[in-house]
């Protein structure tokens, strides 16, 4: 049932992004029903369906309904995860961007600030302008955009990057600001918590977390940590989570790609940047992963970028994925050996 839920949610989100809101809604509701009816419901999934519905309401302009869905999602995630976990932060951001539009500035501000402070630098891009501008109120919008984008990259370039449907002033601003931020400030910005999260950037750019306008307190010049991009099939999500925890325990950051669950145009951009930014890529090769076109694509990207790629074999033959033939791989049972070598590389890079 869960996989049917994924499919419905994906399709629902895709339809929503195409503007087919009435067609999207029943699918998203059905996904929510399936996730909720799971014998052992997984709160993250239920929350995800609530968020997807919230974004649908937002697309319709029904802010009250959007608020209630994002609120439900946040409650679930807060009950399920550590307070500062990336999904919780992302959810605060989603809720924050909605309540701010409902005029509840007092509630919005801490939500957005928290999201900003805790999010991966991947997201310190497009959303910056929007979130900050919104917090600052209408009178500051133009000012923020000009200030941040001015002289670095004209907004027209941002518009090229955007799809034509990104028409609103906010979106164009966000792209202009985002790019400036990305190139000039984000690279050396420390990420609190040591955990990086690749979620789904919103196609409109308007709901991404954002960086503080000035560099994060006292962390601005800290060097980036050694980082690993962990490619896996979403069906191996749990195992991937366990592996990332172990990698993080060696003081190495992990980009855990959770996007195979979700659709969206910017997913590819986020994956490309995630692999680019990580020092190496680890592929959890399982029977599921061998069926995943995403995993194949991610391996290709890593190879194209000349990154070290290490397959971790979960009960599959070392040569099961032809493009990885001859690449040094590890059985999951020897994961500790890989960790030791990884920690050595991290140390050698001076970024551990």
């Amino acid at each position: 049932m869960r996989s049917l839920g994924y499919a419905l949610e994906n399709l629902g989100c895709a339809l929503r992004e195409l503007g087919l809101l009435d067609e999207a809604e029943p699918l998203l509701r059905e996904a929510l029903r399936l996730y909720t009816g799971d014998p052992v419901p997984y709160p993250g999934l239920v929350a995800s369906a609530h968020d997807s519905l919230g974004n649908l309401h937002l697309a319709r302009g029904d802010l009250a309904a959007a608020e209630s869905e994002h609120r439900a999602a946040l409650a679930l995630r807060e009950g399920d995860s550590h307070e500062s976990s990336p999904p919780v932060k992302r959810n605060r951001m989603l809720l924050g961007t909605v309540v701010v539009r409902r005029g509840k500035l007092d509630e919005a501000e801490p939500l957005l600030r928290d999201a900003v402070a805790g999010c991966a630098r991947r997201f310190r891009t497009g959303g910056a302008g929007v979130c900050q501008a919104v917090v600052g109120g209408p009178s500051e919008r133009g000012g923020v955009a000009r200030e941040d984008a001015g002289g670095r990259r004209p907004l027209e370039d941002g518009r090229d990057l955007a799809q034509t449907r990104l028409e609103s002033v906010e979106h164009r601003m966000a792209l202009g600001v985002g790019d400036a931020v990305r190139r000039d400030e984000v690279r050396d910005d420390g990420v609190p918590g040591g955990m990086m999260w690749l979620g789904r950037p919103r196609p409109g750019g308007g709901e991404r977390p954002m960086p503080p306008k000035h560099k994060a307190r006292g962390r601005g010049n800290s060097p980036k940590k050694y980082a690993v991009f962990l490619s896996h099939s979403h069906k191996d999500q749990w195992l991937a989570g366990v592996l990332s925890t172990k990698i993080q325990a060696r003081n190495v950051e992990v980009w855990l790609d959770e996007m195979s669950l979700q659709g969206g145009d910017d997913v590819m951009t986020a994956v490309l940047e995630g692999i680019e930014d990580a020092n190496e890529t680890v592929v959890l090769v399982s029977h599921e992963a061998l069926r995943s076109q995403w995993v194949a694509t991610e391996i290709g990207i890593a190879k194209g970028k000349k990154k070290r790629v290490t397959p971790l074999l979960n009960n599959v033959d070392p040569d099961a994925f032809p493009p990885l033939k001859g690449v040094k791989s590890y059985e999951l049972n020897s994961f500790n050996q890989f960790l030791t070598e990884l920690a050595g590389r991290a140390k050698g890079s001076g970024r551990a």
């Binding site: 145009d265 076109q293 190879k303 970028k305 032809p322």
Partner: protein
């Protein structure tokens, strides 16, 4: 063919589609671009793989022929990924597959229905033979 130092197109396709790939290659060559035909196959030896790697790196644009056959292949995903990792322009020419059947990574790429190929070819032709005022 025509332009030795000219525009190079890497054409990726599944073996079962060689006939349509040949046709597509001819159409692409007519714009003046050079085409490298890569019939991806599981049996490709290492020397051939090295050549593919070289050609992919040296290409200006990657065209993926997307059919029922190719979307089943993980090689296809791998090659498209490698092209993206190399920051190549990737265009998928879609033959007989519905957009909703495409694997998710593909949906964000530029895609062209094979029946509307002439639009793509004239666009390609402008890239191959840039007129002076188009050069940025």
């Amino acid at each position: 063919m025509k332009a030795k130092a000219g525009y190079r197109v890497f054409l990726s396709y599944a073996r079962k589609d060689s006939r349509s790939a040949q046709k597509l290659a001819t159409q692409i060559e007519a714009t003046g671009a050079a085409v490298f035909l890569d019939e991806f196959s599981l049996e490709a030896g290492e020397a051939f793989q090295a050549q593919i790697d070289r050609e992919l790196r040296g290409s200006d644009e990657v065209v993926a022929l997307v059919t029922e056959n190719s979307i089943q292949s993980r090689w296809w995903g791998f090659e498209v990924g490698a092209a993206l990792g190399l920051q190549k322009r990737v265009v998928s020419i879609i033959d007989g597959v519905k957009v909703e059947e495409l694997p998710p990574p593909l949906r964000s790429l530029q895609s062209v229905d094979v029946r509307k190929i002439s639009g793509y070819l004239s666009e390609l032709s402008e890239r191959v033979n840039p007129s002076p005022e188009r050069v940025k």
